[in-house]
């Protein structure tokens, strides 16, 4: 059995009286796509943000390759663990400048390769202003920007939920390309069909706890727990 990429042991996150995550223990495999699904407020995004230390557990340990996350330099960790937010956040006036944000030394050739990786034609986009980008184009530029720093794993926080179906399909195709390249992907998704299409493993979170976890076909079809069955029936 391969050593886990990430491991969570007894992780609880407390915000005042609210517990977004309660005693979560979980192992995430490397080189595969893992989908975090569950109803709103289940703690999916909180769990994702723990993995690049944008959140800190109140209790428990999160490890990467067997080492607790605080043992890594946090800035270096965030370069290894890239993140794509729910809605595209463009930060610079041109595509090239945006791609260079995390890596100022990025050459135009390297930027062109990144754009190709996310399905954007470099000749059309490299020198383009970011003003007129559509939602799908902007989200793929954000994905390319995250890839520019050379992450070994990408965290995707509902990357298509703010997009129309056409734009969502273009982003999904870009993610499929990354998976084909062997990049590890952990994604929050509200769309079970998307999880089924993209993910090798699925984790169902309900009420801040892991209700089911395992290979996607097994979790999405077996419906062992009543809570999971109810969620899957409602979400599909």
């Amino acid at each position: 059995m391969t050593a886990p990429l990430f491991r969570l042991d007894g992780v609880t996150v407390r915000r005042g009286d609210v517990l977004p995550l309660r005693d979560v223990s979980l192992a995430v495999s490397p080189g595969v796509a893992t989908a975090l699904v569950g109803p709103s407020g289940a703690g999916k995004s909180t769990l994702l943000r723990l993995l690049n230390r944008l959140e800190e557990p109140t209790e428990g340990i999160v490890s990467l390759h067997g080492q607790p996350l605080p043992s890594y330099d946090v800035l270096a960790l965030r370069r290894r663990v890239g993140m794509l937010q729910q809605a595209p956040v463009i930060l610079e006036p041109t595509v090239l400048a945006d791609l260079r944000l995390g890596r100022p030394s990025l050459t135009p050739d390297e930027a062109a390769t990144l754009l190709q990786r996310v399905g954007l034609a470099p000749e059309q986009f490299l020198d383009r202003s970011t003003d007129g980008l559509s939602g799908g184009e902007a989200q793929r530029v954000c994905l390319a920007r995250a890839l520019a720093v050379g992450p070994e794993v990408m965290l995707l926080d509902e990357p298509t939920s703010a997009l129309d179906s056409f734009a969502a399909a273009t982003v999904e195709a870009a993610v499929q390309g990354l998976l084909a390249d062997g990049l590890s992907v952990i994604m929050v998704s509200h769309d079970l069909r998307q999880a089924r299409r993209l993910a090798d493993d699925v984790v169902v979170l309900i009420g801040g706890q892991v209700a089911a976890a395992g290979p996607s076909a097994e979790v999405l079809d077996s419906h062992e727990s009543e809570d999971v069955r109810r969620f899957l029936a409602g979400a599909s």
Binding site: V74, L75, G102, V149
Partner: protein, 264 residues
């Protein structure tokens, strides 16, 4: 015309009777406010009374300081102004971590550096009669810049979390992730001070110059003080704003370069 008392320099100043008569102007303002049903009559009256009481107390206190306390007294007075200005500035940044500390340090540092430089180099006198009024103008400029910067910083924190986290997620340190928002806050807070310096004397005669002219100093001489005051104001405002942003940036992020939420 009302009877006028004579100031030491022979400059006529209004009598208390004349001061009382100027209350008619507050009456006119009150009438306008009442007629327009703005609901500000009580506030106007309280402000007018407060202004009179505060200025009277300050006048007598300053007389005491000028006569008896020398440099320690004037430094104490300036320090008190800094503390009050820090409290006022902090109100605008409510929710920012350690807002009171940031505002007080910013006003204090700006005042100490600018006023200290000019007094230390002998450009202006260290006598209380000079240090206190000039210090007041410096503190006021620093406080205004601090208030606006705190307000803008707070707005930036509230509105820019997604952008800042997008930069943090690329491995940028907190200060670098917040830098564009810090620059925006600085630009906004310094613009009024720069505008005010560029129109000084054209739109209204500024305070220091007005005071000196009333006291009988010729306008050609009065402008020297005014130029110094304008430059002091610019320097103090810039220093205060930069200090707010520098301290704010430091306190906004924790050790793991996460932006702290605004305090409720």
């Amino acid at each position: 015309m009302t009877a006028a008392a004579a100031a030491p320099a022979g400059v006529p100043v209004p009598s208390w009777w004349g001061v009382g008569l100027s209350l008619v102007l507050v009456g006119i303002a009150g009438f306008v406010v009442m007629r327009a049903r703005l609901g500000l009559t009580r506030e106007l009256a309280v402000s007018a009374v407060r202004a009179a009481v505060q200025l009277t107390v300050v006048g007598y206190l300053l007389s005491l300081i000028f006569k008896h306390t020398g440099i320690p007294g004037s430094l104490g007075w300036v320090a008190a102004m800094v503390l009050i200005a820090g409290r006022v500035g902090a109100r605008r940044g409510r929710g920012l971590p350690r807002a009171q500390l940031i505002a007080t340090c910013s006003v204090g540092l700006a005042t100490a550096a600018t006023l200290g430089l000019l007094v230390g180099s002998g450009v202006i006198s260290s006598k209380p009669i000079v240090v206190i009024p000039i210090g007041g103008m410096v503190v006021n400029a620093a406080m205004t810049a601090t208030s606006v910067t705190m307000l803008r910083l707070r707005d930036e924190v509230a509105s820019s979390r997604r952008q800042v986290e997008a930069r943090l997620a690329l491995g940028l340190p907190g200060a670098q992730a917040f830098a564009p928002h810090a620059r925006s806050a600085l630009r906004t807070s310094l613009a009024p001070q720069i505008d005010s310096a560029s129109t000084v004397g054209l739109i209204a005669l500024p305070g220091a110059m007005t005071g000196l002219i009333i006291a009988g100093v010729s306008p050609e001489l009065a402008i020297r003080y005014q130029i110094i005051v304008v430059y002091l104001g610019l320097g103090a405002a810039a220093m205060a704003a930069v200090t707010v942003v520098t301290l704010g940036q430091r306190l906004l992020f924790d050790d793991a370069h996460r932006m702290r939420p605004l305090e409720t």
